[in-house]
Assembly symmetry: C2
Homo-oligomer: 124 residues x 2
DNA sequence: CCGCATCCATTTGGATACTG
DNA sequence: CAGTATCCAAATGGATGCGG
């Protein structure tokens, strides 16, 4: 049966996790840390994200145990972010998703353009 | 080198795609259609989503070519949604992500609780 | 049954200014 | 350099009522 109750129960948990790591920036930060630690402004430049959103995203990822934050009290200060073991375990899924994104980016654009043209015709 | 320019250029495209399928509901709808076509209210009940959001999500997924919509002009009306080939190609990545979500749901909760407790101590 | 339109509360996110 | 705080605009999302 396609409505097996376990899948239904899973849905809620999956939803919760996706609401956490499925926001606009989290996956991209994980992606940027795939090859090792990065500094705050390195991430900012690479992702073209506002200071505010990077700050919030990093805090949430740290809170969820996905990244670690290491503060060096030098002058000027230096803060490095890195993936935790839990964060490392997300690299696989993220890699799969990003590869799909790259492979199908244009297919989506094409479908979208076709849909919009259909809608425009219907309106005429 | 971890700052290879291709990865930087990729970032933007990945971001665009994730902004599309990475919203709160899209992945769950894909997940719900993994075993074949479903009707509007079936999805609504299964996902515990508001009518409005399901409607919007289905429309966007159709626009992006990920699902198909088949309308039966019966009385009462009947509308079935199904994955397109492009949507089918997302099943793999979505499966990987949902399995990670299920496997690490509790680890995230634990990390979050620990972080919040630390913050509470620091405040005291 | 399916789904759009409207209203309204909540959330998100950019811009700017300021601190250690 | 690495943030936090504030203000404000825009997007998101639920509730309700209506129409095919």
């Amino acid at each position: 049966m396609h409505t097996c109750p376990e899948a239904m129960g899973h849905c809620k948990k999956i939803n919760e996790v996706l609401a956490r790591v499925g926001d606009r920036w989290s996956v991209l930060v994980i992606f940027s840390l795939r090859n090792g630690k990065r500094r705050f402004n390195e991430l900012k430049r690479e992702l073209n994200i506002s200071q505010r959103m990077l700050s919030l995203t990093l805090r949430d990822l740290e809170r969820d145990g996905l990244i670690s934050r290491h503060y060096h009290p030098t002058i000027p200060p230096k803060v490095e972010y890195d993936l935790t073991d839990l964060g490392q375990s997300l690299r696989g899924p993220v890699k799969v998703m990003t590869e799909w994104a790259l492979a199908n980016h244009e297919a989506i654009d094409t479908a979208r353009a076709a849909f919009d043209e259909q809608a425009a015709e219907a309106a005429a």
